[in-house]
């Protein structure tokens, strides 16, 4: 099987012309590099393989040099970037595997399948590490809900996420949904999976052991999704509507079988490596596993089970058919592997083996159709550091004096403004979304969707895991470095509000075309900001995903770094919720309001303005805040804690009062200490480093804050009454809780009811 034979083009293969090379998205320089590596011209099959592996999606060629600057180390990091998922130890021999990934482009074309297969892919990335998936999160961005097309995309994505995760039986516990015209036509669908494993069962996708068989497992290979990876590396344009055949179709039922079978395989000791055949399918999974193990592999495409007749090696290698895995088994254990898969009604076919010869070889029967020296297919991929320059328009927007924007007449009643913000689809309650997600299956969900971070207990221990996704594209648009810092800080703050110590980060960088200097500037600065924040908060980056070319004919999306944060709650007793819990408790604000309204939701919602500088983010202060909060929670002094950020103090207060919809508790606060601040900055400014908490022991909480140098003040009381009263300002106001609740809870359902009859929200007519 290892005898060297010359590579032969297949009869019928198209000739390698400059046009064909360009069609494959390969630049002249990259082609020269390829010819130099091979010492000859590539075959059509080889061209396809390279085009997939050197696509942005697989190779990270525009981001890799930047990503190398991220902090990735901590004593508890068992697996950093470069594997299917990151892994951290959480004590007692247990570990958590987690990763976030985007499916933006497929979702723009076919929202239901695009989102569903995104969930499927990230699940496979986690369970191939040997982890049992215990939670899904997501981070979604859509255009304005005023558009029927956006409502269709929104409904389809939510249904796709729900149907897939629900069927597989992994709870979807947290996420964020933001609506902004900047994402019109290019929604962002980022899905995160969290899994639990024993440290001793950690599996890596590293091919090893000469003679070990390579086995294809799961669904058969069809023509779907060919060149999906390169698809994800192009601008979205109207022409893409015609590219629908590229979109893959998910089968969560097979995924569930694969999940159970894979975990059984990993625990059986019969295999040495396993990887999802995800983007660029068989090609990338086999080449990446070989590169990690620094071994040679040979694969015979004639042995790959196919769904359609007459598939070429090119198609088999690049197919992105879903629910397939590639396994390296221990030689002689093939039957044992097959038996496990058969139990789960899955097929296994030996399609190749690990070889001593340093070569990546693909055959079709006896014919060698592709052959690359060593692991250079993966390691020789070019990287780029294109020119970067901030767009002058952004500089001007940031510098704009937004405090000069005149108030609208209605704003004389701050309650009006508050209701406007609470009913903004971005801030409003997302029950319309998460009610469609099974959030309680597997019975670990202590705190589900709707609050700050979600909390999952870890069975057999007194601990829990707190998880959250966060990002703010508007901040990042106006100031990329600040926006990314805030995304990390806010995710950490959310985890801390739930009682968790922030531990580690996975990230999803959603940006436009990096070859545009202003976009590359955003990417570079955002990565720098993320690196600063992760270093300062002690939360290393263990992996992530980069999605570039998020553009529409109207231009690039907001640059949107999304942070997936994982934290550990030391004791179940420390799990803390967001909503006020007890009448008579004192309300304490940790951190300080400021005059700033730059980049705020208030400016966008009330004034239709995206401008000004995002709030300052003092990372040392953020860290102190988290320490102070966790101290107070650990002492048992905190009854509720809520991040005070998007929408500002007034929105945070209202949320605390009404978030537990069945048990709303009114409150009265006195903000006279800040009477000197402009009222809208005080009420609706989004100063960072703040947490709103309720406590029966205000003095003890204030003392804890003092020990950490965190400004803190008791600002009022949970009255338990029917209204929210805000006094001590130039315009005191009182607003009934039921009006707040109506704005907050009914806003999205009312908008979606407009298209309730959109049976078209899914083209599928069969049952769930």
């Amino acid at each position: 099987m290892t005898a060297s034979r010359p590579v032969q083009p297949r009869p019928g293969d198209p000739a390698i012309t400059p046009a064909l090379i360009a069609e494959h998205g390969i630049t002249d320089e990259e082609y020269r590099r390829l010819v130099e590596m091979l010492g000859r011209a590539p075959t059509f099959t080889e061209l396809g393989v390279v085009s997939a592996l050197w696509s942005e999606h697989c190779s990270y060629k525009h981001s890799r040099p930047l990503l190398r600057t991220l902090p990735t180390n901590a004593a508890y990091v068992l697996q950093g970037p470069g594997e299917n998922a990151g892994v951290i130890a959480i004590g007692d021999g247990l570990a958590v595997a987690f990763k976030i990934e985007s499916h933006n482009h497929p979702s723009a074309v076919e929202p239901y399948q695009g989102a569903a297969t995104g969930v499927g892919g990230i699940l496979r990335d986690v369970f191939t590490m040997g982890a049992r998936p215990i939670a899904m999160l997501n981070s979604l961005r859509f255009g304005s809900l005023d558009s029927a097309r956006v409502r269709y995309l929104f409904g389809g994505v939510v249904k796709g996420i729900g149907d897939y995760g629900n069927c597989v039986g992994v709870p979807t516990v947290a996420g964020e949904v933001v609506f902004d015209p900047a994402y019109e036509g290019n929604p962002l669908v980022n899905a995160m999976c969290v899994g639990l494993l024993r440290e001793s069962e950690l599996m890596r996708a590293v091919a090893q052991g000469v003679g070990n068989p390579i086995i294809a497992v799961g669904a058969r290979t069809g023509r779907d999704g060919i060149h999906g990876a390169s698809f994800a590396s192009e601008d979205l344009s109207e022409a893409n509507e015609a590219k629908r055949p590229r979109v893959q179709v998910g089968d969560p039922f097979t995924e569930k079988l694969l999940l159970e079978a894979s975990l059984e395989l990993i625990h059986s000791g019969h295999i040495v490596a396993i990887q999802d055949m995800g983007a660029a399918g068989l090609t990338s999974s086999s080449a990446e596993m070989a590169a990690r193990g620094d071994v040679g592999v040979t694969i015979d495409v004639e042995k790959v089970p196919v769904r359609e007749p007459n598939m070429t090696p090119y198609e088999i290698l690049l197919s992105e058919s879903q629910e397939r895995m590639l396994v390296v088994a221990i030689k002689g254990h093939e039957d044992a592997v097959r038996a496990i898969l058969e139990k789960w009604d899955l097929t296994a076919s030996v399609i190749g083996e690990v070889i001593a010869e340093p070569v990546y070889r693909v055959t079709e029967g006896d014919r060698v159709v592709a052959e690359f020296p060593g692991t250079r297919l993966v390691t020789d991929c070019p990287t780029y550091t294109p020119p970067a320059a901030e767009h002058p328009d952004i500089v001007a927007l940031r510098a704009r004096d937004v405090s000069a924007i005149a108030e609208r007449p209605e704003e004389r009643d701050p309650a009006w403004t508050l209701l406007q913000l609470l009913s903004s689809p971005t801030l409003a309650n997302k029950a319309w979304v998460y009610r469609q997600y099974d959030s309680s299956v597997r019975t670990n969900t202590v705190v589900g969707p709707g609050g700050d971070a979600a909390v999952l207990r870890v069975r057999g221990t007194d601990r829990a895991i707190a998880v959250k996704t966060d990002g703010n594209g508007r901040y990042t648009y106006l100031d990329p470095r600040a926006g990314a810092r805030i995304a990390v800080a806010e995710a950490a703050r959310n985890v801390a509000c739930a009682g968790g110590r922030p531990m580690a980060v996975t990230n999803n960088l959603n940006f436009g075309n990096p070859r545009k200097p202003d976009v590359y500037f955003q990417l570079r600065e955002a990565v720098a900001g993320m690196a600063e924040a992760c270093a300062a908060l002690g939360t290393p980056v263990t992996g992530g995903n980069v999605s570039l070319y998020n553009e529409t004919p109207r231009g690039a999306i907001y640059p949107t770094p999304v942070i997936g944060m994982v934290g550990v709650v030391d004791r179940l007793a420390h799990v803390t919720r967001s909503a006020f819990a007890h009448a008579g408790d004192a309300i304490v604000l940790l951190g300080e309001p400021t005059a700033s309204i730059g980049a705020s939701e208030y400016l966008q919602r009330v004034h239709g303005t995206v401008a000004g500088a995002p709030p300052a983010c003092d990372l040392a202060a953020e860290r102190a805040l988290i320490d102070a909060l966790l101290d107070a929670i650990g002492a048992g002094d905190v009854r509720s804690a809520h991040d005070c950020a998007d929408g500002g103090l007034a929105v945070a207060l209202a949320e605390c009062a009404i978030m537990d919809r069945d048990h709303p508790l009114g409150a009265r606060v006195d903000l006279s200490p800040w009477r000197g601040l402009p009222l809208r900055g005080l009420l609706f400014g989004e100063a960072q480093g703040r947490v709103l908490l309720s406590t029966p022991h205000a003095e003890r909480v204030l003392a804890a804050a003092g020990r950490h140098g965190v400004p803190a003040r008791a600002i009022g009381t949970v009255t338990g009454g029917p209204s929210l009263e805000v006094a001590g300002t130039a315009r005191p106001f009182t607003v009934p809780l039921d009006r707040l609740a109506d704005a907050y809870f009914e806003s999205i359902p009312r908008i979606m009811a407009r298209t309730a009859s959109a049976a078209s929200d899914s083209p599928a007519t069969t049952a769930v």
Binding site: A756, S757, A759, T765, T766
Partner: protein, 87 residues
């Protein structure tokens, strides 16, 4: 034996609440198809099978519907077409 292609329609039983049919009706009305009176959304199933003759193919398809393909409590079925074999 001859190869036949039997097309089956499975629809919600008349009179039962059909929320999907109603939703589609509303959507069509919204789109200006005012003349739409009612919509029923069901399943279209194509079974390819070998049978001695056309009646035998139909008979087998009916048995499949009764046993698995339709729920007798809530669904009706009809054989829409049988293709293949001699006419």
């Amino acid at each position: 034996m001859t190869r036949f292609r039997v097309s089956l329609h499975v629809t919600p039983r008349r009179g039962l609440l059909d929320p999907q049919g109603k939703a589609v009706t509303d959507a069509l009305h919204t789109l200006g198809f005012a003349a739409v009176r009612d919509v029923h959304v069901g399943r279209h199933i194509v079974v390819e099978l070998d049978a001695a003759d056309r009646p035998a193919a139909e008979r087998e398809a009916r048995r499949m519907c009764a046993k698995l393909l339709a729920n007798p409590v809530t669904e009706d079925f009809e054989i829409a077409a049988v293709e293949g074999g001699a006419a």
